[in-house]
Amino acid sequence: MKIKLITVALLTALGTTVTVAADNDIAALVEQYIASGFKQGEKQHTERIVQDETQKQCTTYRNKIPSEMQKAFMERERATIKYPESGKLSGNWEQGQKTFTDGFAWRVGTIMPDKPDAVRGGNCYACHAADPKEVAAGNIGSTLTGYGKLRGNTPETIKYTYEKIYNSNTYMPCSSMPRLGHNGVLTPEQIADIVAFLVDPESPVNK
């Protein structure tokens, strides 16, 4: 009986070890395949395939960070946030509408790269509805129509909205939304303009 129990325990332990090892092997192979999967050389920006800690964790846990890790995760993301020099977190809504709408550039490679100096937009309609007049809005993100009407144009809402756009992972670990400020896609001033587009009572979002 005792021997039988020990055998079962041993087998269970072995089974677990084998599964974990297999997952680690696959993860290591993924990195090998990725490393050889892209063209090298000028204009390729291969640094983009190197993951930071956030991307690594979101990959390992497939975007479901264990609850005991979430606090540290979100604190790390919060520490990355930078604010506009003016201190104004809500800017010009009309300029914000333009930045919100503009297709985002920054594609690289040699086959069909964007102009490196092209002004970048947020391309927010790819995923979010906002101005109800824009029919062709995606639905990966939440709908933002009536955002300011619902949440008010308060300092709290403005701060939350700015931080959410700057680093979406501050409020939701492994959010699908890019960390637009932290990753250098948009400047703090551009983000403040988008905030205004979302909260200003004069913006079509809230009409």
């Binding site: 192979l29 395939i49 990959t59 690289v108 086959i111 029919v135 990966i140 896609v185």
Partner: protein
């Protein structure tokens, strides 16, 4: 059809979509009207060119591709595409149709990989005709029209490719923090009006996509292959150019075909 008529069709189709389903705009009706007719698929012309290229004696060795083995034996094309990617003993790796094509064009015909991959895809911004690689691929693929997606998963390297492909599918990277899964792991999502399949689960979404490529893309005025689709997704994620026929792209395709098993090929496809 004049530009004005097309614009009118788009507008009325969009309006119809909005009128019938205010919550979920979609352009399905427009798409059906525009490219629902299989006999009007411009890819049929590219397939003819691919067949000529396949049977013509070419390259430094002046031989055709008729002895190329796509997995079912030398020269057998019928049903071969439906059973790719698969493990090939001679190269000791898992290959999709396009990486296999490179093998045959170098081994049989004597071309070099460098010259073959100098320009893999037609540049739609310059309104170019399809490249030889694209024409050959769609010809080979079309020989599996009506058959079921049935890539083997018996060899350990085939199993590895599928597993690794799944890992790549979930890997987040780049300035947008995107993985394939960011757009393709939930039901009924869209980028603007473009529907996005949920490829994280086996079933209809992934079957529908994998069985319709290579496809004639109306917006590119060119046939596009699965290798182009992989490059395009990476490009949209703001990543470097995916290497044509690399183990990375082949692993992704192996994963997607495993998810889409038993979907029925309708080739060539036609899409936005």
């Amino acid at each position: 059809m004049s530009r004005l008529t097309i614009a009118g069709l788009v507008t009325s189709a969009l309006l119809a979509g909005v009128a019938f389903a205010a919550e979920e705009p979609n352009a399905d009706a427009y798409r059906e009207m525009t490219y629902g007719d299989r006999d009007a698929n411009p890819a049929l012309l590219v397939i003819d060119r691919g067949e000529e290229l396949f049977k013509e004696k070419r390259g430094p060795k002046n031989v055709s591709l008729e002895q190329c083995d796509f997995g079912l034996g030398a020269g057998v094309l019928k049903g071969a595409y439906a059973q790719l990617p698969r493990y090939f003993k001679d190269t000791d790796r898992v290959q999709d149709a396009e990486s296999r094509l490179l093998t045959c064009m170098t081994e049989l015909q004597g071309f070099t990989v460098e010259e073959l991959t100098k320009q893999t895809f037609a540049n739609d911004k310059r309104n170019e005709d399809n490249t030889d690689l694209e024409a050959l691929t769609v010809y080979i693929a079309a020989q599996s029209d009506g058959m079921k997606i049935n890539a083997p998963a018996e060899h350990p390297k085939e199993q590895e490719a599928i597993k690794v492909g799944e890992g790549i599918f979930w890997r987040r990277q780049g300035p947008l923090d995107f993985a394939c899964a960011t757009c393709h792991a939930d039901d009924k999502k869209r980028i603007r009006l473009q529907n996005l399949g949920n490829f994280s689960k086996a079933g209809v979404d992934v079957q529908k996509t994998m069985s319709a490529w290579p496809t004639y893309r109306v917006s590119h005025a060119a046939v596009r292959t699965m290798q182009h689709r992989m490059w395009d997704c990476m490009w949209q994620m703001r990543l470097p150019d995916a290497q044509y026929g690399s183990p990375m792209t082949v692993a992704l395709i192996a994963y997607l075909n495993a998810q889409g098993k038993d979907g029925t090929y309708a080739l060539p496809g036609m899409s936005r």
